[in-house]
Symmetry: C3
């Protein structure tokens, strides 16, 4: 039922990126101490996968059974904490690491859901939930409206990556290249959205600005 | 283990109502863009059922396996988004749709818990959790204190409807009429509470107002 | 799979303490009415155990199957609501009850995870999740940054207690005395941290204050 080794590496990369992201967010947005920084980093890194595994009935979640998830989440958070003082352009790093985690988790989440016998459409949805889950908990805990609700093309690229993943699996061409390709599509769309301030349309006729 | 067809219709009505409610809340309270509106609508519509199914061990949750839940949640949210500009008295609509979802989900949730072999008292509690779950996640994500904590008779009518449902099942008279009756009791109490500003008692001697 | 009787008593003590704590928090921090106070008390008391049981796959959670958890959570919350007007030094009581629940749930959570065949390291983590879960939901619902992120030695004593529990079980010396000892270590460290304002280190070179 587990991902093949090369995909596991990808999953661990996403975990590490979200660990870095969550810890940097804790340093920047909430100015927490070391325990708070590590905790938020680990929740961000492990949250999406835990939600996915609970929803597909794969309990206990893989993140509790495989020490490498735990180590990479904690390692990423610790590195971010230690280096946060020296890092410049913290917001850019936060956005990039978040986009990496989003992209990888959308792919891995959709693939794992399919592997557990879940149909294509719900597997895509589970990929999105995996991708945005950790970040949504992160934002909620530090009292920000979650990125997934504020958009700038956040859920949509995850949906595309999860869809491409399910398509590749159904076509029998899934593997590390296809997974990397799907993740890259998500990453590029997300970063373009951030770079050019692209947003999905607002309610017809409205001229509101999203709340910060 | 699934609800009989007529009850499934009721469940889908609740899903649709919560989809409308969540999307209108996103438009009104948080002024989100289209992805945010659809996302909040779907989380509100599907959240309670997902929590219920995870708690009774019915994973993957029905909402991931049956495309009709997904379609009605997304459909309700899309309709609300498209019409939100033309709708007047948005707050009234939000309250009414929320009360419909609350009432239906309390009944369906308690019934499904019993069907999974859970005892009467915890089944009632699970009905309440199903009823208030989606709305609580909705409020938390947009940084409002959840309605269930602010009351105006919110958890209590859900508790009554779930209790009536369990009673009807134990007496062997459960079916669409009984389910509709229990939901109607919840709906009426909830709307009377909103209409006349009825609230449960505050701590003895206090004259505080609930925080907004 | 269930804890032996003496450990069940300890678990119920923690449930009762968190019920008192959650209700007093609702009275003090959010000024909710009776339904809100009872609801927050029960969520605080039952939340950690529900999360633990969902994660280890022990669904439905014990708190839904054993009426004593429900009764003690509701009882604690009701007592706190009724007496809140007469109680002085509410903040001290809130802190003490929270520390009792934290300590007991770290021990019971780690022990239950091990009993379900989960390895030592993830069992320790699950003990911490059990300990901090209810309070984290409590804080999130009333829009406060969770104590676990703000620290003052909150997650660390829970980690130590869960670690001691796993050690005692592995050494074959676990029982009520060992459980009480591990919980006492957690309680003392937590209270010393509160009393002397001890905090974990902040990011290198920073002089920030945690946001309130």
């Amino acid at each position: 039922m587990d991902a093949e080794p090369t995909l596991l590496v990808l999953d661990l990369v996403g975990t590490f990126a979200f660990g870095l992201n969550g810890a940097l967010t804790a340093v920047r947005a909430a100015r927490l101490d070391v325990v708070g920084v590590l905790t938020l980093g680990m929740i961000t890194a492990l949250g999406g996968g835990v939600i996915r595994d609970v929803l597909i009935g794969a309990t206990p979640p893989a993140t509790f059974l495989d020490w490498r998830y735990f180590a990479l989440a904690a390692g990423g958070a610790t590195i971010a904490f230690a280096l946060s003082r020296r890092l410049h352009r913290l917001q850019t790093l936060i956005t990039v690491f978040d986009a990496i985690g989003l992209s990888v988790f959308a792919v891995i989440g959709a693939g794992k859901a399919l592997a557990y016998g879940i149909g294509p459409a719900p597997a895509i949805l589970l990929g999105v939930v995996t991708a945005v889950g950790g970040g949504t908990i992160r934002d909620t805990l530090i009292r920000q409206v979650p990125t997934v609700l504020q958009s700038e093309l956040y859920a949509i690229p995850a949906l595309i990556a999860a869809g491409l993943t399910v398509l590749a699996i159904e076509l029998g061409v899934y593997g590390l290249p296809a997974a990397l390709g799907a993740a890259a599509v998500c990453f590029v769309i997300r970063m373009l959205g951030v770079r050019y301030g692209l947003n999905a349309p607002r309610p017809p006729g409205s001229s509101w600005r999203a709340e910060q």
